[in-house]
Amino acid sequence: MIALERVDLTFSHDGRTNAVLSDISFSIADGESCAIIGPSGCGKTSLLFLLAGILKPTRGAVQVSDRQHCGTMLQHFGLFPWKTVAANIGLGLQLKGVSRLQIGTRVVELMDEMGLNGFENYFPGQLSGGMQQRVAMARVLAVNPKILLMDEPLSALDALTRERLQNLILEIWSSKHLTTVLVTHSIEEAVFLGRTIIVLSNRPGRIVTIAENPGAGRPDYRQSTQFFQRCSQLRAILREECHGY
């Protein structure tokens, strides 16, 4: 369960205060998926960092049950170029002090699941964007998270790879029953993956609307009329409420 209650976030730098998020309240039930969308600089990533525990709210409360079982995937994958694919995937486990043998077994399992077999000794720089994203996903899944937080995980990919990986995220979400929060600036991605869609305003980010989107989570949803209608509705809200869309 994730719950935010009247959360404000303000950064102070050189005596100046900068409001990033204002009066944010919402909750996400276990096993649900939520997409957060809004214009650039509205505080989407900061909101995700609040959930991950990297940032603390200036006011209000952030409750995340099972935060220790939280997997976070950052923009541009957050892979370490000096570590091989296998070392990147196993890093979370290594940091937790898991034995080498157990790490090895888990890494092999995940590489198999993500279609990365044969690439264990490659470095991230030798892989395509899509494959790097799979490595990042494998690294997050290695620690068996109950909550999956993703910050624009597919923004750097071409359209086709993006669709393929959206299906992969969907597959992981439905098979592992993970509570998933996805930050995105893509309307289609938000509608395809988020059963709840939270729209943020321009900075300081406030919640403009929380839209239920029960159709999300089906692989064929993308081809449905409902999907297009949802996208149009969301686009209209963003155009009206948020400059920059």
């Binding site: 976070t72 950052l74 923009q75 957050g78 370490f80 000096w82 570590k83 940091l95 470095f123 991230p124």
Partner: protein, 248 residues
């Protein structure tokens, strides 16, 4: 990228060719022809004296560089990573770095004696600042995302240093070491000019005093060979520990 043997041979031949041309043009005792120097060098190699001097210089340079690295790398990484340390310590670096540390020799001799230690400490002191500044800058330029990524994985501070700060800064630390080798070998000339009768610096200074220019150039060639050997070792280390660099 590794330098090919063929390119090294070509560079050496070109340099010897230029040297020969200059020697013929100048026709001066102060610049003997390279083949004369090479004959002398062969003689000193055969009687083992040159290897002794090279060995002594090698040990002094290596110990000086090692001492500097042990002190400068951890300190540079910490200053570059911790904003508070950077604020507090960087002014000292800026004030102390520009001082020609060679002038501290009398003080170093008083503190560490006239023997080997003072020579090694002087090399270490000069190399220390070069490595410190480069390492600090390397750590400062590490992208914030890597730290965030480690934070999301629940890394401790020590794990942050081990898995991010050190490997990310390593290529630049190796570059600093490459510069340091040149500096250390050059300082040898100075530190081996007092209180010793061993080392390439001593050969050069002693030959200079005796106007034995062929022997002087034997010392110079041996010094170049010593620096070259150290560069090759460093290249090999870099190829081993920074394999990923070729992929980015």
């Amino acid at each position: 990228m590794a330098i090919k043997k063929r390119d090294i041979v070509i560079a050496a031949l070109v340099l010897f060719g230029c040297w020969e041309a200059c020697a013929l043009a100048l026709h001066s005792m102060a610049l003997p022809e390279p083949w004369r120097v090479l004959i002398q060098l062969w003689t000193y190699l055969r009687d083992g004296s040159l290897l002794n001097d090279m060995g002594m210089s090698f040990i002094r340079a290596l110990l000086g560089i090692s001492l500097a690295l042990i002190a400068a790398v951890p300190l540079g990484l910490a200053i570059g990573t911790e904003a508070m340390l950077d604020r507090r310590l960087s002014p000292y670096i800026y004030l102390l770095y520009p001082i020609p540390h060679v002038v501290l020799l009398p003080l170093i001799i008083i503190l560490f004696g006239i023997g080997e230690l003072s020579k090694i400490v002087l090399i270490a002191l000069i190399v220390f600042f070069q490595v410190l500044v480069t390492t600090r800058d390397a750590a400062k330029s590490i992208h914030r995302n890597y730290f965030l990524s480690m934070q999301t994985l629940g890394a401790s501070k020590a794990q942050m240093y081990r898995h991010v700060v050190l490997p990310a800064a390593l290529p630049k630390i190796l570059t600093a070491m490459r510069i340091s080798i040149g500096t250390a070998v050059a300082i040898l000339f100075f530190v081996e000019s007092f209180a010793t009768t061993k080392g390439l610096g001593y050969i050069i200074m002693d030959s200079w005093g005796q106007a034995d220019y062929e022997r002087l150039y034997v010392g110079i060639v041996a010094m170049a060979a010593l620096g070259f050997g150290l560069y090759m070792v460093l290249d090999r280390i870099e190829r081993r520990v920074c394999r990923w660099l070729k992929t980015v």
